[in-house]
C-alpha cells in the first residue's frame, strides 16, 4: 500500500486531505470528529478579534439536478474568544498528536497585531499558521482578508511581520479575486512564506429570488456579496495552482483548495503542483466520512500506478502546462462517431451545425436507417460534439497524423519577424 504521508513545508500529515478553514473547523468537537473520520489535517476556522455574524449565511447553486454545484457564504471568521479556540486546539492536538493542526489567522495589517496573535497561537502547539488574505466578504470591508490580499505590498509586509514572530511554518492563503494570482503569490514568497495556499472564495451573489426580488441569501430583505466555492470553482482554482506551480519565483509548496470533492480532484491538484489539498464544501455537503472514500480511492490509484508514495504525484503535470503560444498549431484531432453506439439523438449534429463548424452530416444508409458522420477534413477538433453527446463511447476524438511538422505560434511569429528583419536590412 502506498505511503500517503505528506510534508508541506515541514507540516507533517498522515494523508494529504485537510479540512479547510471554514465552518467545519469551527470547534474542537468538529475537528476531533474529523480526525476520527480520517482527515489528515485541519486548518482551524480563522482566529482574530471575535466577530458578529448575521443569520441566513449560506446559499447553494444547483444545476440540472446536481445539488451544491456551487456554494456561497457570507459567514465571517470565528465569533468565539481566542482563549476558547486555543484551549480546544490544545486539547485536540494532545489527543491527535500526529495530525496537522494549522491556525488560520486574520488581524489588522499592523505589525504588533500579527506578532501578538502568532505568539499566542503557537504557545498551544499548532503545527503551522495560515494567513487569511482571501476572505472576500465582511472582513474585507474592514481592510482585512481579500482587501489586504489584493495589495501585493500588504501581502509581503504582513507575511514578513508574521515570519518575524513565527516559529512554525507560515502558509499564505491567497484570494482569487485578483487579475493575476502569481503577483500576490510572489509577494508572499518575498515576505518569507514557507508555503502558499489557494484559492479562497470568489466574490459572488448566489441568485435573486424572482418572486420576492430578494437576494439569495438575504438578511431581512438585504443582501451582500459572498464567497463562492464548491465544484463550480475547481477549474479556476486548478489553473491558479498550476500558474503558481510553473512560476520559478514561487518556489514554495502549494496547498490546493477549490472545489475538491473526491480523490480524483485531489490527484489533479497534486499533479498540477499541490503538495496537499484542503476541502470544505464537499464535507459540508456530505459529512466528514467522505474522507474514507478519498483515502481508499487515492491509495488504490497509487497502487495501480505503481507509485510508492503520494508525493510522487506532486507536480508531474506542471511541465505539460504552458502558454497558448507554445502549443503545436499542426496537432490535429477529429471527431469520429461510432455508429454501433450512437443513439441518433442528433445533439452532436445540432451543436456542430448551430454553434461550431458544420461538419456532422445526417445521412441514411441503404436501408433507410439514419446515421451521423463527421466530415473529418472540415472538423477542427473542437470537442463540442463529444462534450454534448449523452452516450459514453459514441464519439471518439482521434488524433490524425499531420503531414506538417509541429509549429507553435511563437515559432511562426518569430519566423515572420526574421523575414521582416532581413527585408529591413536590405
Amino acid at each position: 500500500m502506498a505511503d500517503l504521508n505528506t510534508n508541506l513545508a515541514g507540516i507533517k500529515s498522515p494523508n494529504p486531505f485537510w479540512l479547510a478553514s471554514a465552518p467545519p473547523t469551527n470547534s474542537g468537537y468538529q475537528v476531533q470528529r474529523a480526525f476520527e473520520a480520517g482527515w489528515g489535517g485541519a486548518v482551524w476556522k480563522t482566529l482574530g478579534d471575535p466577530i458578529l455574524n448575521v443569520s441566513s449565511r449560506f446559499a447553494a447553486v444547483s444545476f440540472n439536478g446536481q445539488r451544491v454545484a456551487g456554494f456561497n457564504n457570507i459567514e465571517l471568521i470565528t465569533d468565539r474568544p481566542l482563549e476558547v479556540n486555543l484551549k480546544e486546539i490544545y486539547e485536540t492536538k494532545k489527543k491527535f498528536p500526529n495530525h496537522a493542526i494549522i491556525a488560520s489567522l486574520m488581524v489588522e495589517p499592523k505589525q504588533e497585531k500579527w506578532h501578538e496573535i502568532v505568539k499566542r497561537v503557537e504557545d498551544v502547539g499548532i503545527d503551522g499558521l495560515e494567513l487569511n488574505f482571501g476572505c472576500p466578504h465582511g472582513m474585507a470591508e474592514r481592510g482585512m482578508g481579500s482587501a489586504s490580499g489584493q495589495v501585493p505590498e500588504l501581502v509581503e509586509k504582513q507575511t514578513y511581520w508574521t515570519k518575524e514572530a513565527a516559529k512554525t511554518p507560515v502558509i499564505v492563503k491567497l484570494t482569487p479575486n485578483i487579475t493575476d494570482i502569481t503577483v500576490t503569490a510572489e509577494s508572499a514568497v518575498r515576505g518569507g512564506a514557507d508555503a502558499v495556499s489557494m484559492i479562497n472564495t470568489i466574490n459572488s451573489l448566489a441568485g435573486v429570488d424572482i418572486n420576492t426580488w430578494n437576494t439569495i441569501p438575504h438578511v431581512g430583505g438585504k443582501g451582500a456579496h459572498g464567497g463562492y466555492c464548491g465544484p463550480a470553482v475547481k477549474p479556476i482554482a486548478l489553473n491558479m495552482v498550476a500558474e503558481c506551480a510553473r512560476n520559478p519565483l514561487i518556489n514554495v509548496p502549494i496547498s490546493g483548495i477549490g472545489g475538491i470533492s473526491n480523490w480524483q480532484d485531489a490527484v489533479e491538484f497534486m499533479l498540477m503542483g499541490a503538495t496537499g489539498v484542503q476541502i470544505c464544501t464537499a464535507a459540508m455537503h456530505h459529512g466528514f466520512r467522505i474522507v474514507e472514500d478519498m483515502i481508499e480511492g487515492l491509495s488504490n490509484y497509487l497502487d495501480e500506478k505503481g507509485l510508492a508514495s503520494v508525493n510522487d504525484l506532486v507536480g508531474k503535470s506542471v511541465a505539460r502546462y504552458s502558454d497558448w503560444g507554445e502549443l503545436d498549431l499542426n496537432y490535429k484531432i477529429v471527431a469520429r462517431i461510432n455508429k454501433e453506439v450512437c443513439i441518433n439523438c442528433n445533439k452532436c449534429h445540432i451543436a456542430c451545425e448551430d454553434t461550431s463548424h458544420q461538419c456532422i452530416d445526417m445521412l441514411q444508409d441503404s436501408n433507410g436507417r439514419p446515421y451521423l458522420r463527421v466530415r473529418e477534413d472540415d472538423c477542427v477538433g473542437c470537442n463540442l460534439c463529444s462534450i454534448v453527446c449523452p452516450v459514453d463511447g459514441a464519439i471518439d476524438m482521434v488524433e490524425l497524423k499531420s503531414d506538417l511538422p509541429p509549429m507553435t505560434w511563437n515559432e511562426r511569429q518569430s519566423a515572420i519577424g526574421l523575414l521582416r528583419q532581413r527585408n529591413t536590412v536590405k
Binding site: N330, D378, R412, A415, I416, L419, N423
Partner: protein, 69 residues
C-alpha cells in the same frame, strides 16, 4: 467551397510557386488574412498570394520556418 477545399487550393498555389523557384519574400497580415509576396530566385519578379484560410496561413509558415532552419 468548404474551408478545407479552399485550403487545398491555396496550398496548391503555394506549392506551385515554390516549385517554380519562388521563395517567400514578405508577409503582411491584416484583417483580410495574409498577403504573401513571393520572389523568384532567378528572374527576380514578384508574385502575391492572398491566403484566407487558417490552414493556409499555417502552411506557408511551415515553409518559412523550414527555410530558416
Amino acid at each position: 467551397m468548404s474551408d478545407y477545399q479552399e485550403y487545398l487550393a491555396e496550398r496548391e498555389q503555394i506549392d506551385l510557386l515554390i516549385g517554380e523557384g519562388y521563395q517567400i519574400e514578405h508577409v503582411t497580415e491584416n484583417l483580410s488574412g495574409a498577403f504573401v509576396d513571393f520572389k523568384s530566385k532567378k528572374a527576380g519578379d514578384m508574385k502575391q498570394l492572398h491566403i484566407k484560410t487558417a490552414d493556409g496561413r499555417k502552411y506557408f509558415s511551415v515553409i518559412l520556418i523550414n527555410r530558416n532552419r
